[in-house]
Subunit: 293 residues, 2 copies
Amino acid sequence: MRPEPAPTNTTEQRVDLVLARVLSKAASVPPRLADAMRYAVLGGGKRIRPRLVYASGRLAGAPIEVLDHAAAAVELIHAYSLIHDDLPAMDDDDLRRGRPTVHVAFDEATAILAGDALQALAFESACADGVEAAVSLRWVRLLARAAGAGGMVGGQVLDLEGETRRLSADELEQLHRKKTGALLHASVAMGAAAGNLPGGKADALDRFGTEIGLAFQIHDDVLDATIATEALGKRQGADADRGKSTYVTVLGLETARKEADRRMASALDELACFGTEAAELVELAKFIVSRRR
Amino acid sequence: MRPEPAPTNTTEQRVDLVLARVLSKAASVPPRLADAMRYAVLGGGKRIRPRLVYASGRLAGAPIEVLDHAAAAVELIHAYSLIHDDLPAMDDDDLRRGRPTVHVAFDEATAILAGDALQALAFESACADGVEAAVSLRWVRLLARAAGAGGMVGGQVLDLEGETRRLSADELEQLHRKKTGALLHASVAMGAAAGNLPGGKADALDRFGTEIGLAFQIHDDVLDATIATEALGKRQGADADRGKSTYVTVLGLETARKEADRRMASALDELACFGTEAAELVELAKFIVSRRR
């Protein structure tokens, strides 16, 4: 007897279907570019950002068909950022999720352009037919701020600067609030924006998004320092090898683990006001800091 | 006595002010990233795309303060595309408008990231406060399609493929409809979308946007083949040297000149239904195919 699929699998499969649909809708795309985009987006991953959109959006009472567009948008931004982060001029990684990175599987120009096209497609997805204009507008604003110079891109700049000098714990938090936290927070906020929550609960969900983003990154640094290359899908200790400041190199392994736990507890506290309705989001939060990539 | 500035100067100055304002509004941006973004965006250029937004928008009766946001958006997309096109993995140009390109003046990682951030900022600008939700939504859709895989990015992919084989005249038109034409067309369409034109005139303006885009590119190829490096701001014949197919290499210089004239006449025909009200757009169209960069 085959085991029942875990409840989260259903959402992962939905995300893959939604992403494949969005990618196939773009008309008149040169085949090599379309291939690189599909390779990057449909190459697996835990789909944490889309799952945050769905869980937060359902908690806010939003229809799942509307949430599909936001889920696709955040994952397309994530996928583009991975392609560009892996480039030779940046982190110079040739392995991602156990497969050659896009610039290795294709070439550097195609990788840069596939990333560029995925960012545009994310904004197109946020404005899809069937989404209220006011909701699309809030999504585009949230996404643009999270992805841009004050968010994810700014965080990557700080990350590269962190290779040349040791960052303080405060600087590291600032870096990760931008680089990883901004898009995770946007995922939660975009889900909430599609629904209709009273102000107090909306604020609590917003703070949850911030805390879970930090818990995620600290856990990621712990994983990078401790998990074998095969399980991780990239070289073990790759970040530390490059001289990058990570939570582990700055705080030490045990303190980093405790800090991840503290952020996680703080995130879950914010969900208390929802009672049992937040069960899906609680489960997802716990998955985030228990995952082995 | 100093000469009066030409009428077009006023719009150019407005564009610079609007762009500087948009760039300064982004909060908490790492200084090096902010510098690279400003270097790329405020480094001159004829601002043809914003000027198309203003001229088309005024013809459609849109307020200039609303058009500012669309004008900034199209120029930010244009600026990001130039940064990425100039990268070593793409056209590998070290000179742009007579100055070092961004990856030369800064470094390659900063250039990639500044381009990425400018794309996000373009979409943020299209959703600025003070623009009706329905207009912003049309702008984001127009911009995302023009910039993405079926538009500008797809055109750049075809352009790079054109270095390895000689393109036919039809393929060349397809390439330039995407690479240059899509964003020029979007500039005209975004201006029009902010106003209120009856269907027939809106369609004519839309076709004008398509034709002027092709006239622009053919003229650009003619310039590349004939103008000295100093006046051009980049190396003379740089495209042809790389073995790129251009309108000049495919059609010959004289036929390319005639084709630019034909497209220009076709563009102006579309404006006939507006009578003298289209004077600004007619003047701008003529400037586009007479310019010496």
